[in-house]
């Protein structure tokens, strides 16, 4: 089922169409939220919220205007993550121990690579969330700057700045496996 058919189907209340949308995007969305938050359980909850909102909101969108599912879904997912942080009333820099899911669930890699990935995720979680969002969208999800700007509703210049600062911050926090 192609995307425009799926959206039309969803507008008509067709659950199969919605299932198709989940199939098309759930992996990307949960991966994005997992890398953004460093917490798999949280990523699951936020993914659920994202798709529930899709189910409720897409049928209400203007059928005459072009609806682009991918940026819309990522924008909703990002907003869900931001709302989560706002409810916590603080923007986290790091929370050690968040990533135990990585070490327990992936037993295929040599120990060295697991340790390296823990450090990368931890370093990423230390970075301010607005920069982290752009880093994950660009490097993990493959979004170009223009796409990130459209998804988040910010300028391309702002994206460039956030990515640059995010990379600089990452470099400082990442120690290649050694705890700072």
């Amino acid at each position: 089922m192609d995307e425009s058919t799926a959206i039309a189907g969803l507008r008509a209340g067709n659950l199969d169409a919605f299932a198709g949308i989940i199939d098309g995007y759930q992996t990307q969305i949960i991966r994005y939220l997992y890398r953004l938050t460093g917490d798999l359980e949280l990523a699951r909850d936020l993914t659920q919220d994202t798709f529930v909102q899709a189910f409720e909101s897409i049928p209400k969108s203007d059928p005459s205007s072009l609806f682009q599912l991918k940026p819309w879904l990522f924008k909703v997912a990002t907003n869900k993550a931001m709302q989560y942080y706002r409810r916590k009333n603080i923007i986290h820099f790091i929370h050690l121990g968040q990533n135990h899911d990585v070490s327990t669930s992936d037993n295929r890699d040599p120990a060295g690579e697991i340790i390296e990935r823990l450090s990368v995720q931890e370093a990423l979680c230390r970075i301010a969330v607005q920069q982290r969002t752009c880093l994950v969208l660009h490097f993990v999800e493959g979004f170009r700057y223009r796409e990130i700007a459209d998804t988040l509703g910010i300028s391309e210049d702002a994206v460039r700045m956030r990515v640059m600062r995010g990379q600089q911050a990452f470099r400082k926090f990442y120690s290649g496996g050694n705890e700072k």
Binding site: L15, I22, T47, V52, Q167, R171
Partner: protein
């Protein structure tokens, strides 16, 4: 394009996000700049490291749980109440200027009809009381990787009795310091009080009082502006809740303290706030003090600076019978970088604000005087600048 400009493009160059012209400029510069070549190498490396996160452990299949959640829920849209809403942290002295605004989308009636009703209602206001509280958490991140976090709490309480009497009390505190500023306007005379207290017993020396006469003057200006005899309706009316908000959603009616209210959510439109404050600066140029003008300009510059990231979201409750704002809840998120000669500090602030409003209830304002007419301890008489 100079060296600093090129430095700002290196990350985008490493990520292949520059256009042809920019790429040429960067490559020409790189040919002769060792430092930039080294920086580029670091950007390339960090990009590759983060890209490794594309690999994930096996992720759960969410389809079944999402679908069962959809099928079982009542899919009729219900108002989603944010746990918190964001609100801008403006300098206290510009609260009166930045009372926030809502552009009604007129789900049930046109904006023009609502504004007309709101204006009519605000003419009936005699007394006014508001209590605002802001809780902020600010995180500082230094170049060397160190971080520091600070929490602060401030509250503003304002009472106005419908004549020229008003009372404003501002309390603010961090973990170390608490300050109080108070103003009373009573029968043509303005009185003020301020103090600063050390809350940290580890600090022995006394804290200098940072509140200056200019600060007091600015507060008096704000208060006078809010409560000038012919201006109260501008202070409180919903229609002045201008179109500073965008993405406005009607969350459905809600009962607040027994009063049926419209309930709206919106995001601050920065361009509109800038335009509003610029207009204020121009129109009131003759009557504003220099400090107030500087304060407004600082706010405008802060909003204008593309390197600052500002996101404010609000929820408002507006009474359906009187079209008056009864409550605001807000969340603000701000990111900014302070560039100092010693290095950069990245600042991230997150604040929660709640504000409640009451109208036409009895308000009693008293002058801060003993029965003998002497000033109470710590209080002073405010002298207008032309009186000095």
């Amino acid at each position: 394009m100079n060296h600093k400009d090129i430095e700002k493009l290196l990350s985008a160059y490493a990520n292949k996000e520059l256009n042809e012209e920019q790429t040429d400029l960067v490559e020409k510069h790189l040919a002769s700049c060792v430092n930039c070549r080294e920086s580029l190498k670091q950007f390339v490396e960090s990009g590759q490291q983060i890209m490794a996160l594309k690999e994930t452990p096996s992720l759960p299949d969410m389809k079944a749980s999402i679908m069962s959640g959809i099928i079982m829920r009542d899919v009729k849209p219900r108002p989603r109440k944010l746990a918190r809403v964001a609100l801008v942290a403006v300098p206290v002295a510009v609260i009166g200027v930045c009372l926030l605004i809502l552009q009604l989308t007129g789900f049930f009636m046109s904006p023009a009809q609502i504004i007309e009703k709101a204006f009519a209602a605000s003419q009936e206001i005699k007394t006014y009381y508001t209590f605002h509280e802001t809780k902020m958490t600010t995180n500082y991140q230094y170049d060397n990787g160190n971080t520091y976090s600070r929490e602060s709490l401030s509250s503003t309480e304002i009472s106005y009795d419908g004549s020229e009497r008003y009372h404003m009390l501002i309390n603010s505190s961090t973990t170390d310091i608490a300050s109080r500023i108070e103003l009373i306007s009573f029968d043509g005379q303005i009185y003020y009080y301020h103090d600063m207290r050390n809350l940290n017993s580890a600090i022995q020396e006394s804290i200098p009082d940072y509140v200056t006469e200019d600060d007091i003057r600015m507060l008096v200006e704000s208060a006078n502006k809010m409560f000038a005899a012919d201006n109260i309706e501008n202070t409180v009316s919903v229609d002045k809740m201008l179109n500073s908000l965008t993405d406005i959603k009607n969350l459905g009616d809600e009962v607040l303290n027994g009063v049926k209210c419209f309930h709206y959510q919106g995001t601050l439109d920065k361009e509109k706030i800038i335009a509003q404050n610029e207009k204020d600066l121009i129109e009131n140029s003759d009557s504003l003090s220099q400090k107030m003008k500087d304060s407004l300009q600082t706010l405008i510059d802060f909003f204008r600076n593309p390197e600052n990231e500002i996101q404010y979201e609000y929820e408002l409750w507006i009474s359906k019978d009187k079209y008056l704002i009864l409550r605001i809840e807000g969340i603000q998120n701000i990111s900014s970088t302070l560039n100092l000669p010693t290095g950069n500090i990245m600042i991230e602030g997150s604040g929660v604000i709640t504000a409640t409003y009451r109208y036409n209830e009895p308000v009693i304002i008293q002058a801060p005087l003993t029965p003998d007419g002497e000033l109470l301890d710590g209080w002073h008489i405010y002298n207008k600048p032309e009186d000095n």
